[in-house]
Symmetry: C4
Subunit: 257 residues, 4 copies
């Protein structure tokens, strides 16, 4: 393997397939959302992506075996709708600029071979989240953009950069005259965020007109709330301590000067 | 897109064209100056430059669409003078050493195809600016250098490095036996500096013997003055605070020892 | 040399050879273990690996000569058993991601040319070591994994990353349908650790069914104990000093507030 | 220019030429020594080396012109001795690992085309220098090594790494079966060190059996002594200040606890 390689695992004909990508990123939003659908929809493995631009280590699994970091394509036959789906999940973002471009180009080469016309990428954007996290849409095509807004995504602000594979696929898809839309869920970003992932999936379901039970994410959401609660307690104590220290320091200055 | 690609958008014959480059850099001097002329002269789009060496994100625009970072070439038909102009503006400097060289070489390949014989690059150099910012010239050719000085650019000091695309185009142009001149405006550099950009443009107008109203920059200059004023207030308060702290510290040392 | 090159030094037929790799890494476990066997078994030089991805310096030897950093392959004719052995030792890990993948691929290309079917890699993993350091196994093949466990290696925990050449060879071997097993010795990791290396070798001897006297490592183990003892004394004093400082600081705060 | 390029400037036959390299490095020892000989021996320009691995800026000269960073080859016809000389000086070390290897390989390709059989590289090694700086030799060939020691170079210690072009040329020359010797002058390294450069040249003169007046370096040595003197004063004051601060701090701790 000298360059990025995609090896197919299954040989299937897909009906007007749409590619849905969710590599790890801010709050793991894309990763959590895509992996959930891969399980929930009982998808099947389609292909594996290996690349010398993934970090140079292997991951050990439960059976004492190890494998390279990789991307995994899964397919889902849509019995009732117009578009079969291809999902892409992965262990890591490609490293280095060259790697980012090479991997994104390889993904689109593969997608075009599979006759994909539309690409959906999922990611997060950093923000202080109120009760319900917002989801914004960006698209290379006005019709797709309108559809995303109709599915209750919010319009995105001009100027926001979308970093990494989710962004590059969008930009490179446009460059190749493919349609692409990116759904970005609002997240604090420093912890895996299943809640935001669920909100993105609600919009994705409408956008792609598919049916999938999202309740399976609720347990994960509960767990992440607990972790967040504990981290906030730690943070509060830290802030309090810092304030005390500053007060002490100020008093000393006042006292001495 | 595996390497830098330039796709032409318009198919025009240009008359002894001169290339004027202004990628983002110190004080955004080149960028502001070149983008201003692109608008003011009502230029038309000539070509787009994409490269895997630009940062791996996309930029979202006002209509919710997104695109890769890129360079844009514009052309201007010079009705009265000898030379048509090609402008090159961009979103970013290429990243990595390899990227800098590859993009600069691609630009010159394209320029040579368009029969460009002379290249003008615009940038900034860091200095404490007095009332009127200086503009210095560097050129690969004595005649061009003389012309720049006649247009009231100042001679540059030996030894100054010119970093990035503005410098590399100069060096690589010389390497290819193209003429090139670089105009560098003096700037503090930590904020966009339309005032310096205006001064560069005044010299550029004389050098290229073109006519362009520069008053449109004045509003931007006013705005940047206000920002600068506010930043200076903050800085003054910071310095004052630091001085106080140092005094307190010194007194304490005196007191204890 | 523009890419990684392996030059053979000896021309031998090897009987079902197994490759044993030990590049420098955590606690130098792989390096110490492999180099010890290279000497102890009176192996002979088989080939040299040079690469533009090793650090760009040369090493001076005792005779005032210098050479590039490199990898060295040695072979050992197994008179009584089924498998001859090839050992790979080296001066350094390859630098950069690209380098890691290129060198690992070159090693496997060479191994396959030599008809290697099984690869053993040796490394360390960071842990606070009790009296006897543990050795865990990871393998690409269940039979090999079972054999490693029978040889008293412990099962590894899922999720552990194995970084660098030891890990990549494992992952890339699997990718090429070669069998591979990695033995990782527990080590504090900040000093060369011959004790852990010895424990790894005890397991390796059983796994490969070879006979080698390991007592030669005991002197090195004694020396490293002394160094460790001295470093612990320094550390203890440092901790004590830090505690005193913190106490002082706390008292001051109590005193002032 | 996509890769390193060497363009010849003069077309000469050289008699058993020896290449003497001195790129910038520790204390600028190699650079100062080689550039001095280039002037002193009235050498002529032979070729220019350009590379996309030099830093991406240009250097402005006294006439307001600019050029890329580069390497320069000069030749010297040795009227009385056996070997003509080729000197290589440069503005910078190549950047990145790949660059280091590519440039060193290009230099040796060129040298071999010119029928060079022996390469001399010059550099510095960091040490606290007594009155007279030592010069050590490292060579790929025992005869050359002996000659260097006879010319009063000292034997080098095993294990020292020689970093950068001076080292890589040595290692890659050996790899190509060329003879090579490296002379390393002892230097504090943080300032240009003409004194050490002069000592290296004294040994180089004997080694190559050439005659060159080295007194021209004395003025530069005087200037560097003054700078060093001033820097030492600053350093002394800094140390004194630090000691005072530490004393104050300790007293405070004693006082409070």
């Amino acid at each position: 393997m000298k360059t990025t390689e995609i090896k197919k695992v299954a040989d299937v004909e897909l009906k007007n397939p749409i590619l849905v990508e969710g590599f790890p990123g801010l709050g793991m939003v894309g990763s959590i959302a895509t992996k959930y659908l891969v399980k929930q929809l009982k998808t099947k493995k389609l292909a594996l992506l290996h690349s010398p631009y993934f970090p140079y280590h292997v991951i050990v699994n439960k059976k004492g075996s190890a494998r390279l970091l990789r991307g995994e394509f899964y397919y889902w036959k849509n019995e009732t709708g117009e578009n079969d789906l291809i999902f892409l999940v992965g262990d890591s973002q490609p490293q280095t600029i060259e790697g980012q471009f090479e991997v994104a180009n390889s993904i689109l080469d593969f997608a075009e071979k599979k006759k994909v016309k539309t690409v959906v990428t999922i990611g997060g954007y950093r923000n202080e989240v109120e009760e319900t996290p917002n989801v914004v849409a960006v698209a290379t095509n006005p019709v797709l953009y309108e559809n995303a807004l109709k599915s209750k995504a919010l319009p995105s602000e001009a100027g926001t950069p979308i970093v990494g594979t989710a962004g590059l696929l969008l930009g490179l898809a446009k460059f190749r005259n493919l349609d692409a839309v990116c759904l970005l869920g609002e997240t604090r970003g420093y912890l895996p965020d299943p809640k935001t992932a669920k909100h993105v999936l609600e919009i994705l379901k409408e956008l792609l007109n598919i049916d999938a039970d999202l309740d399976g994410l609720d347990e994960e959401i509960e767990r992440s709330k607990e972790i967040l609660g504990r981290m906030r307690d730690i943070e509060k104590r830290r802030v309090k301590y810092m304030q005390k220290m500053r007060r002490v320091e100020e008093e000393r200055i006042t006292y001495i000067s």
